[in-house]
């Protein structure tokens, strides 16, 4: 039942880079992708965002069939193109596609922009004049379905929504499906596009940083900055990868999740769910807290959220926390909502391979008792922990192992 699950390919597009090499290099150089937003400035005055500038999906996908895809679908199609290529599982031309190859995609706001635009068109032009080609984009699983058509993914095709932790939930869902033998290879991760609706949601709720700076664990942090992107891992059982003769990049060995049932828009200050998720992930991976060599934090620049994570970390790790390098990469790519979990997981994977915690862009102080740094922090160890906590009560954590 508990087959080992390994990563055999990566696909990523974000404000700090496209492709795992560019993404990792930017992350380790401490570069931030957060800057002045250029999208939807006609309707919402300028502000900061981790936007993918000059996104040209044609570069990876060619021109064919792109017109009907919304931004999320394009991001997923690009990331899945990369993950398939990297794992050697791109389906041949003319082939129907492997029925055991699939995609599990996390998202939070999903198709909110497409569904809002579709409804708006009905309101302003009349319901009989809406474009029927745009209706399929209104369903939340549309990006996953479009990627399946584009890349001939005939196996499991699931979309998972658990708010800001969707990406990690999707990775775990894929792990379970592989263990149950319902697929042989699954891409798993998340997607989120930057759009007016999610932006306004954050801005009006008062969660958006006025300074335009996402400053994890900083005493002067003043909120979140939205980003966008898609990140996917190709996951397989270790045995499956070995049979294909591929060298795995990483092992994904433990997942934990807990809901705080506290409030839909509030962090639980006691961090009970966050601590429970970390403990469960460690237990599932059969790893003691002191064996964790690096922590990739959820910290998204919300004072309440970062304080909750700090509290939960101290609770779970106790004294050994002072020795563990921590990275908070949302400072680089922003709060990418449904894609966040996967982007954090990729950052942890990079940390294990390079044996250094990525810098936390712009990090200045160290008075919170956490080992963060604006420089890479070398370490020597086998395991990394990824945290992902949402302000809606959802908490998830993942343990990765170096191969």
């Amino acid at each position: 039942m508990t087959a080992r699950i390994v990563v055999t390919g990566t696909g990523v597009i974000s404000s700090i880079g496209a492709g795992i090499e560019e993404f990792e290099n930017a992350l380790f150089a401490g570069r931030s992708g957060i800057g002045p937003r250029t999208l939807f400035t006609e309707t919402v005055p300028a502000g900061a965002a981790g936007e993918i500038r000059n996104f040209t999906p044609q570069q990876w996908l060619g021109n064919k069939g792109l017109r009907v895809l919304d931004r999320s679908a394009r991001l997923v199609c690009v990331a899945s193109h990369m993950a398939l290529k990297a794992s050697g599982l791109t389906q041949p031309e003319g082939d129907a596609g492997d029925p055991n190859l699939g995609l599990v995609l996390g998202t939070m706001f999903g198709s909110v922009h497409s569904i809002t635009a579709f409804d708006w068109s009905g309101l302003t032009d009349g319901p009989t004049l809406v474009n029927p080609m745009e209706f399929p984009n209104t369903v939340i699983n549309s990006p996953a379905g479009q990627a399946a058509i584009k890349h001939k993914l005939r196996g499991v095709n699931s979309t998972i929504s658990a708010g800001l932790v969707s990406g990690l939930y999707a990775i775990h869902y894929a792990m379970e499906f592989l263990r149950f033998g319902r697929a042989t290879a699954l891409m798993a991760g998340g997607v989120e596009e930057l759009c007016e609706e999610s932006y306004l949601s954050f801005a009006k709720a008062g969660w958006y940083s006025a300074s335009g700076r996402l400053a994890p664990f900083a005493p002067d942090c003043d909120g979140s900055v939205l980003g966008e992107g898609s990140a996917l891992w190709m996951l397989e059982t270790e045995e499956g990868a070995r049979k294909r003769g591929v060298q795995p990049l990483l092992e994904v060995c433990g997942f934990g999740s807990a809901h705080d049932a506290h409030g839909i828009n509030a962090f639980n200050p006691r961090g009970a769910g966050a601590a429970a998720a970390m403990r469960e992930a460690l237990r599932a991976a059969e790893v003691a807290p002191e064996s964790i060599a690096c922590i990739v934090a959820s910290a998204g620049g919300s004072r309440a959220g970062d304080a909750m994570e700090n509290h939960a970390l101290k609770n779970v790790f106790g004294a050994c926390l002072a020795d563990i390098p921590i990275s908070a990469p949302k400072a680089a790519f922003g709060e990418c909502l449904g894609a966040t979990g996967a982007l954090l997981a990729l950052s942890a994977g990079a940390a294990l391979r390079r044996q250094a915690a990525p810098p936390t862009a712009g990090y200045q102080t160290g008075e919170d008792g956490l080992r963060l740094s604006a420089q890479p922090q070398p370490f020597s160890g086998e395991y990394a922990l990824v945290n992902c906590f949402g302000c809606d009560g959802n908490n998830a954590a993942l343990v990765l192992k170096r191969i």
Binding site: M1, D119, P127, F135, I149, R154, A261, G393
Partner: protein, 395 residues
């Protein structure tokens, strides 16, 4: 459960086997600009009766319906939630559109007063994971909590994943199901595709003219068999397994040969350790559109061969309309009750056989069939297919 033919499993089931139709002219918005006018709305829903921990207006109708269904399921199961470790109780829900009425309100305000006037409380009610989140908060459940928004097959995905979480030992109890509120957006989309039936929903009939959008919610309580037995629970059915697949063919149209549908059914049976000879009833996806019903019939025929003639397959969407992400959860309840009572609900409005749909559709009258194992089919936009296998629980 809350459905267009009534609330609660007793009413639902008695109306269902009577062949009651819940389809009527749409009441929640003006359809005069549309060429069609029928809908399958939930009537008489009073959220304050079920949403108790927080004011119902703090959430959208999808969440309200989900909480109502969850409360009814918990009461019916006889479980005492306070006796559980809350971290071992989870919520797994499915939906097509989540809280689309929030988008409608957003656009209404934007149109009349401009973007600046949109209240700050509105948008955070929208992301679809707030539906299971609101259920978790209402009942103080602290285990895994997720939404699987795989459109019109979502209920099966969510129940299936709830089953997975119990089987791996992660949870001791799951509330699993689906919810979708009535939406002008969904209505507009299907109307524009020409997919809505003008007069009635007639799945598998030669003269079928389409589906009818609906709304509803259903939640079932899943627990390990030995727990249920130990507490002397009424066991409706056992979940045996499920299968999923993707057509990877077209966003809205099914694969013409039913390739994905066949693979989902095959996987459901192989994962469940049963064969076509064990299946005694199929709850069809059966939306009532010309293509869907033809393809589903073809997929069953290709997979079951001559055995298909002996397997009754009905579409309760003939009575309920298409309740979107709630549909396969409501149909899973119908499957469990078919197993429990030995009765197959009918496909109503069935008059003229279609040579392309040559199966036994339990036409117009419920029938005593006493199935041991049943299959619940669900298909969706995005080419998503999911089949759930349930069985009588032998003592």
């Amino acid at each position: 459960m809350w459905t267009p033919i009534g609330a609660g499993k007793e009413t639902f089931w008695s109306e269902l086997i009577k062949g009651t139709c819940g389809i009527a002219p749409v009441a929640s918005f003006d359809t005069s600009a549309f060429p069609v006018h029928l809908g399958a709305e939930v009537k008489g829903f009073e959220p304050e009766r079920y949403v108790q921990r927080r004011p119902p207006e703090n959430m959208g109708r999808g969440s309200q319906l989900a909480i109502a269904a969850a409360r009814m399921a918990v009461e019916d199961s006889g479980i005492d939630l306070s006796s559980y470790d809350r971290g071992s109780v989870g919520v797994s829900m499915g939906t097509t559109s989540g809280e689309p009425q929030i988008v409608e309100q957003y656009n209404d305000v934007r149109k009349s007063q401009g973007l600046d006037s949109i209240p700050k409380e509105l948008a955070p009610k929208y992301p679809c994971h707030v539906i299971p989140g609101n259920v978790a908060i209402e009942f103080d459940l602290r285990g895994p909590c997720l939404m699987i928004p795989t459109a019109c097959a979502a209920g099966n995905y969510a129940i299936g994943y709830g089953f997975d979480l119990i089987r791996t030992g992660r949870t001791d109890l799951m509330l699993a199901g689906g919810a979708d509120p009535f939406s002008r957006i969904t209505y507009m989309g299907f109307a524009r595709l020409g997919a809505i039936a003008p007069e009635r929903c007639q799945p598998f009939d030669k003269n079928r003219k389409g589906m009818v959008p609906g709304e509803g919610a259903a939640v079932i309580v899943l627990e390990p068999l030995e727990h249920a037995r130990a507490r002397g629970a009424k066991i409706y059915a056992e979940v045996l397994g499920y299968g999923v697949s993707c057509d990877a063919h077209h966003m809205t149209a099914a694969h013409p040969k039913g390739d994905g549908a066949m693979r989902a059914m095959s996987m459901a049976m192989s994962q469940s350790g049963v064969t076509i000879d064990d299946i005694g009833y199929i709850s069809a996806h059966g939306t009532g559109t010309p293509t869907n019903d033809r393809v589903e019939s073809l997929a069953v025929r290709r997979l079951f061969g001559s055995r298909a003639d002996k397997v009754p397959m009905s579409s309760i969407k003939s009575m309920l309309g298409h309740t979107m992400g709630a549909a396969s959860a409501i149909e899973a309840v119908a499957c469990a009750l078919a197993i429990d009572t030995g009765i197959a609900p009918p496909t109503i409005n069935y008059e003229e056989p279609d040579p392309d749909c040559d199966l036994d559709y339990v036409a117009n009258q419920a029938r005593r069939i006493d199935p041991r194992v049943v299959l619940n089919n669900a298909y969706a936009f995005g080419g998503n297919n999911a089949s759930l296998c349930m069985a009588r629980c032998e003592n």
